[in-house]
């Protein structure tokens, strides 16, 4: 499969990238890891007139903790998974990065691309919903911060303006007694998820859930926040009954369609099962377990 022709420009810095994007009249496309975009181009389903390669822009590949976790948009999945700060304090991110596509893809695929591509089958969107992240975008008018709940508009569509670039992901530092987990159910390594569930919990001194975040992968046009399920958990002791109730609410929040990866009803049920299991894992982690 051979992509159609395009112009290619290497952005020197973010300002350059924004300028190139703005000048492309909506026909430009940012190239980060390229692991979703290039296959689409080879199918000729995507035919951007201009590819703006941001891989050489300095400063987008860093991870630092600065009151919050700041992840540069160009951080590759394998680097995210291996990062000592992330491994120590953000196991849910390790869970997520470790199941993106396959290990070779993860050497190029970036967390920023995973979010900006806004494919409901991508894994980070659900996790970012669960951890209540925000993303930093830069455009001709400067920088703005978009809360994660306002990022995903529709399949492949974010709230970024056509001349804006996602540059950083910010994740609030977890309060003490917090734990999260991401579970993905796929038929084989590298397949799109049948469903995935991200759960982030903070427990209070009495072991009750002080704060809950739950995001769902590939069961709707975008990643979905299971708000009702979060409400069910909040203020409650995460016992079997509460967990089961939250899981049912999460399943109800899913809007899957029947396709090659299973009937819609089945996918909802997988959401329920994964939510249950993810909550149990998140609680264990919040209590200091693995």
């Amino acid at each position: 499969m051979i992509p159609a022709s395009f112009e290619y420009a290497v952005a020197r810095d973010i300002a350059d990238a924004i300028q190139l994007l703005a000048s492309s009249g909506g026909e430009g496309k940012v190239l980060a890891g390229g692991q979703s975009l290039i296959p689409l181009m080879k199918f000729r389903l995507a035919q951007p007139a201009l590819l703006i390669d941001i891989n050489r822009v300095a400063g987008l590949g860093e991870i630092r903790e600065n009151g919050e976790l700041q992840i540069g948009a160009l951080v590759r999945e394998n680097d995210l998974e291996a990062n000592p700060i992330v491994r120590q304090r953000y196991p849910i991110l390790v869970d997520t990065a470790a199941v993106v596509a396959d290990p070779l893809v993860r050497n190029l695929a970036t967390i920023g691309g995973n979010l900006a591509h806004a494919d409901p089958a991508n894994d980070h969107p659900a996790t970012m919903l669960a951890v209540r992240a925000s993303v930093v975008v830069q455009g001709p008018k400067g920088e703005r911060v978009i809360p994660i709940d306002e990022l995903f508009v529709d399949t492949f569509t974010t709230s970024l303006a056509p001349d804006e670039i996602l540059t950083q992901i910010r994740i609030p530092k977890p309060a003490p007694k917090s734990g999260g987990a991401y579970l993905k159910f796929e038929r084989k390594v590298g397949d799109f998820a049948i469903a995935g569930v991200a759960v982030m919990l903070t427990l209070d001194a009495n072991g009750k859930v002080a704060r809950a975040g739950i995001g769902l992968t590939n069961v709707g046009p975008t990643a979905i926040r299971a708000g009702r399920a979060e409400d069910v958990l909040t203020g409650q002791t995460p016992d079997d009954k509460t967990i089961a109730e939250a899981a049912s609410r999460a399943a109800a929040a899913a809007e899957p369609v029947s396709d090659l990866r299973g009937p819609a009803e089945y996918k909802k049920d997988v959401v329920r099962v994964l939510t249950q299991r993810a909550i149990v894992k998140a609680v264990a982690r919040a209590k200091g377990g693995a």
């Binding site: 499969m1 992509p3 159609a4 395009f6 290619y8 290497v10 390229g34 390669d53 891989n55 190029l108």
Partner: protein
């Protein structure tokens, strides 16, 4: 009545100069922006050891090292590799001596038709560089982006274990 006609897309628009080091040898090339790295290797440089199996980033037959990391070269444009180093199966053997991974695949019957083998060996070599003593599960995870239709993977795992053993022994001796 024609109101407006969109210009037909034609090929060969942007050509770019790139500098790529492949298996230690520097190359200055001028390529179309849309040329995939795998085609650069196979067509422009005549290095046909790297194969194309699926086109959709699933099979890993085209795996090469890009700045030391295994990637699928059918999902990278050659222009992206400008100023970078690429390592392919042709570079595994050094000064007439097989890499332990090549030896392992031969000794443990880790290949049959040979088509996935170059990509599989490149992935395995990268694994052993990062982790000289991988468990069976770690090996299976590492090669889970490389599809093989002939071997059933059992002997590929053994081949990589052979290479790991051999590498450790060689290091011990040295």
């Amino acid at each position: 009545m024609a109101v407006q006609t969109a210009p037909a897309k034609t090929s060969g628009t942007t050509r770019m100069k790139i500098h790529v080091t492949v298996n230690g040898e520097a190359h200055d090339l001028e390529v179309e922006a849309r040329i995939l790295l795998v085609h650069l290797l196979r067509e422009n440089l005549g290095m046909t050891g790297t194969h194309i199996g699926c086109d959709t980033t699933n099979c890993g037959a085209c795996t090469v090292l890009l700045n030391g990391r295994p990637v699928k070269s059918c999902t990278v444009f050659a222009v992206q590799a400008d100023q970078m180093s690429v390592a392919t199966v042709e570079g595994l053997e050094k000064e007439g001596k097989l890499d332990p991974i090549q030896e392992g695949f031969h000794e443990e019957h880790g290949l049959q038709c040979g088509f996935c083998t170059p990509g599989m060996m490149i992935t395995a070599a990268a694994l052993l560089t990062a982790n000289p003593d991988p468990s069976e599960l770690q090996i299976r995870q590492a090669i889970s982006g490389n599809l093989c239709r002939c071997t059933g993977y059992v002997n590929i795992v053994k081949s990589i274990q052979y290479a790991a053993r051999k590498t450790r022994e060689t290091r011990k001796e040295a």
